[in-house]
Amino acid sequence: MALLVDKLRPRTLDSLSYHPELSDRLRSLAQSGDFPHLLVYGPSGAGKKTRIIATLKELYGPGVEKIKIDARVFQTTSNRKLEFNIVSSVYHLEITPADVGNYDRVVIQELLKEVAQTQQVDLSAKQRFKVVVINEADHLTRDAQAALRRTMEKYSPNLRLILLANSTSNIIAPIRSRTLLVRVAAPSENDICSALRIAAKKEGWTEVDGLNKRIAKESGRNLRRALLMFESIYAQNEKVTEKTLIPPPDWEAVIQVTADDILADRSPARLLEVRTRLYDLLTHCIPPSTILKTLTFKLVARVDDALKPDVIKWSAFYEHRIKLGSKVIFHLEAFVAKFMRIYESYLMGMGIDL
C-alpha cells in the first residue's frame, strides 16, 4: 500500500489545489514552445517536485510517467569509480548530483554533455529538447555550477534544465541570471486544511475540522509532513476526534526530552548525558542543522524574553560553524554548553554580557 503522500499526489497541473496563478503560468510556458531554463525554489514540502512533474506531463504528455532507474558508473580524473542513479523517461532525466559529494562536477559535465549532444530521436515527440531535472541544486559545488553555466549556453537547442532548490542563496549569480526564477511558496494553513479534507474524503475517513487545523499548525506549513501526520493518526487510532493527540516524530520527541533536561539542570554531568542523546540522533541520520534548529526553538519557547535574542545568536553562530567544520558533535555540544552558561548566569543575575 502506498503512502497517502504518493497515492494522492496530483498528476496534472489542473489538479493542483493551491497557487492557481503559478500553475497557469507554468502551463502557458509549457504550451508556448519556448520553454526557458527554470530555477524552482521554495521550502520543502511546498510542492516543487509535484509541480514540475505536472509541468513535464503538460510538455510531453503521459509518456513522462513511464520511468526507469539506471545505475551509471562514472570515472573521475583520479580513476575513482562513482556509482550514480538516474531516474529517466524517454523525454526527461532526473538526477541528484549532490549524492556524489565533491565529484558532482564530473557527473554534470559528462552526463549533460551526453544528453545534450544526442537529439530527440522520437519524431512524434512534442518537443525537440530533453529536460534534465536537477534535484538539490543548492547543494552543488561551485565547480559544478560553473560547469553548468557553460553547458546551459552551449547546448540550449537540445537541452532544458530545471533546477530545484530550497533557496537561491547558494546558486551563483550567472546561473540565476540565465534561468527563469519560479518561487513556490509553502501552502497556507487553510490550503493544508482543504488538502486534508480532500484526502479524508478520498479515503472515506471521518472529517474532523478541528484536528485538521491543528495538524496544519503543527506541520509548519509543510504539506508532506501534514499528510504523513494525518495518516499516522488515522492508522493509530480507531476513532478520531478533535482532541486526538498528534504524535510527534520520535526524533522530535527525543529533542524535546533533551531540551527539558538541559533546562532542568546545568552541569557537566548533564552535558555528558546530552551528548549521548545527540550522538544517538546523529547515528539515526537526522541532519545536524535540523537537530540544532529544533533544539533551539524548543529552548527558546521556554526561556525568558530577554534571553531569546542571545540564544538565537549563539544558535546561528554554531549552525554556521557546523557548516564550516568537519566534526558536527563538537558544535552541537558547544551550543548546549553555551546555552547552559548563559542560562545559568541569567538566573544568577550576573547579566548576560558574555
Binding site: 503560468r25 502557458s28 510556458l29 504550451q31 508556448s32 514552445g33 519556448d34 526557458p36 525554489y41 521554495g42 521550502p43 511546498a46 512524434s124 560553473a146 553555466r149 557553460r150 540550449s156 537547442p157 533557496s167 537561491t168 542563496s169 547558494n170 541570471s177 540565465r178 527563469l180 526564477l181 518561487r183 513556490v184 511558496a185 509553502a186 509548519g220 506549513r221 542543522s289 540544532l292 534548529k293 533551539t296 527558546v300 524574553d305 530577554a306 531569546k308 535574542p309 538565537i312 545568536k313 544558535s315 546561528a316 553562530f317 549552525e319 554556521h320 557548516k323 564550516l324
Partner: protein
C-alpha cells in the same frame, strides 16, 4: 489526441508539397526567436553603445587613426564592456575579416597557463593573412588595419601564472597583435599587465540611458508595458543592463506565452493570426519584481515594524512570526538581507552610531549565508540583533 493527429498529417503534407528552402528559413526564424535578447540587441556599432561617451569618443578617434593601443576595460557587470570591444572589432574589420583577425577567449572556459602558451601565442604569432577579393567599397567602409585583436573576456578570473605568461607575449608580437583585456576588478590584473594597457573605466549606466534602451527593445518586440515598469527594471537590474534585459525577456515570455500559443495553434491560417496579439496581457511592475525575486514592500514594512522597539521586553515574538512567514513563503535570504540593508541604512530615523553596529551585523550575516548556513536561523539572528541595537539606543 485527434487534433495532434490531424496536425501531424497537415504538417507532413505541407512538408511534402513545399521545397526544402522555406524550411531552412523557418528554422532560422526559430533560432532568432529563441535567441536571448541580450545577444539580439547587442550594439552593432560604437555609436550604439549606451552611456559610455568618454570611452567611445576615445575609441572613435583611434578608429579614424587606425591605430590601437593594448586595452584594458574594467567596470561592473552589464555596463557594455564586451559589447564595446565587439562593436569596435566589427567596425574595424567588417564581416569578411572578422573571423581571421579576432580571437575571443572567454576566460571562464579555458584559463590555464597551457592555453596562454598554446592558443594565444600561436594566434599572436601568426602572420597576417592578406585580405583577398575585397573591393574598394569594403575598404572604404572598414579601415582593416594591419593587426589582429585578441579579446580576453573575464580576464580577472585568469590565474596569476597565466597572466604573467602573457607579459612577454604582449610585447613580442605587438607589431601585429593587440590585446584587449576585459574584467570586473582591475585590482585582480597583475601590475605588469595593467601597465602595458591603456585603461578604460566603464561606469555604471545612468538611468536615462538604460531606460531608453529598454524602451527601444520593448518597442521592437511589441510589448505593452505598464507605467513604471522601466524604472522597476532598472532598479532590479542595479545598473546591470544585461540583467534588466533578461528580466524583461522572462516577463515577456510569461505574459506573451499565451500569444505565442495562439499563433502556433493557428499555424497555417494567416487570417486568424492578426487578432491573436490582442488577448495578450501587459507586463506589470509586480511580474517584473516576482521574476527578479524582489520581496514586496509591504512585507518588508511588516518586518521593520516588528523590529521597532516597543514598551518592554524584546521584540522576539513579533519578529519571529514575520520571519517564519518569510521563510515559509520561500523568499531568498540574500535578497532579504540586501533589501533590508537598503531600508535600514538609508533611514534617517536611526542614529549613525547605531548604524555602525547594524552594518557589522549585516556583514557577518552575508558571510554566513555565503557559507551555506541555515537561512531561518541567520535571518532571525540578524533581525533580532538589529532590533536589539535599536532598542539599546
Amino acid at each position: 489526441m485527434a487534433s495532434t493527429f490531424f496536425n501531424n498529417k497537415a504538417r507532413a503534407a505541407a512538408a511534402a508539397s513545399s521545397s526544402s528552402k522555406p524550411k531552412v528559413g523557418e528554422a532560422k526564424e526559430d533560432n532568432v526567436r529563441q535567441q536571448p535578447w541580450v545577444e539580439k540587441y547587442r550594439p552593432k556599432t560604437l555609436d550604439d553603445v549606451a552611456a559610455q561617451d568618454h570611452t567611445t569618443k576615445v575609441l572613435q578617434r583611434t578608429l579614424q587613426a587606425s591605430n590601437l593601443p593594448h586595452m584594458l576595460f574594467y567596470g561592473p557587470p552589464g555596463t557594455g564592456k564586451t559589447s564595446t570591444i565587439l562593436a569596435l572589432a566589427k567596425s574595424l574589420f567588417g564581416p569578411a575579416l572578422y573571423r581571421s583577425r579576432i580571437l575571443e577567449l572567454n576566460a571562464s572556459d579555458e584559463r590555464g597557463i597551457g592555453i596562454v602558451r598554446d592558443k594565444v601565442k600561436n594566434f599572436a604569432r601568426a602572420q597576417l593573412s592578406q585580405p583577398t577579393g575585397l573591393d574598394a567599397a569594403y575598404r572604404a567602409q572598414y579601415p582593416c588595419p594591419p593587426f589582429k585583436i585578441i579579446i580576453l573576456d573575464e580576464a580577472d578570473s585568469m590565474t596569476q601564472d597565466a597572466q604573467s605568461a602573457l607579459r612577454r607575449t604582449m610585447e613580442q608580437y605587438s607589431r601585429i597583435t593587440r590585446f584587449c583585456l576585459v574584467c570586473n576588478y582591475v585590482t585582480r590584473i597583475i601590475e605588469p599587465l595593467a601597465s602595458r594597457c591603456s585603461k578604460f573605466r566603464f561606469k555604471s549606466l545612468d538611468n536615462s540611458a538604460a531606460g531608453s534602451r529598454l524602451e527601444n527593445i520593448a518597442l521592437a518586440e511589441n510589448l505593452t508595458l505598464e507605467d513604471g515598469v522601466v524604472p522597476t527594471l532598472i532598479k532590479c537590474g542595479d545598473g546591470d543592463l544585461r540583467r534588466a534585459i533578461t528580466y524583461l525577456q522572462s516577463a515577456a515570455r510569461l505574459v506573451g506565452a499565451t500569444k505565442a500559443d495562439a499563433k502556433q495553434a493557428n499555424g497555417y491560417d494567416d487570417d486568424e493570426m492578426t487578432d491573436a496579439g490582442s488577448a495578450s496581457g501587459t507586463i506589470t511592475v509586480r511580474s517584473i519584481e516576482e521574476i527578479a525575486g524582489v520581496i514586496p514592500e509591504d512585507i518588508l514594512d511588516n518586518l521593520v515594524q516588528a523590529m521597532q522597539p516597543k514598551g518592554s521586553g524584546s521584540a522576539y515574538d513579533a519578529v519571529s512570526k514575520v520571519v517564519t512567514g518569510l521563510v515559509a513563503d520561500g523568499w531568498s535570504a540574500t535578497q532579504l538581507v540586501s533589501q533590508l540593508y537598503r531600508r535600514v541604512v538609508f533611514t534617517e530615523a536611526i542614529p549613525d552610531i547605531q548604524k555602525n553596529r547594524i552594518v557589522m551585523a549585516f556583514s557577518e550575516m552575508d558571510k554566513r549565508l555565503v557559507d551555506g548556513a541555515d537561512e531561518h536561523l541567520s535571518v532571525l539572528d540578524l533581525t533580532l540583533r538589529i532590533a536589539g541595537i535599536m532598542r539599546s539606543g
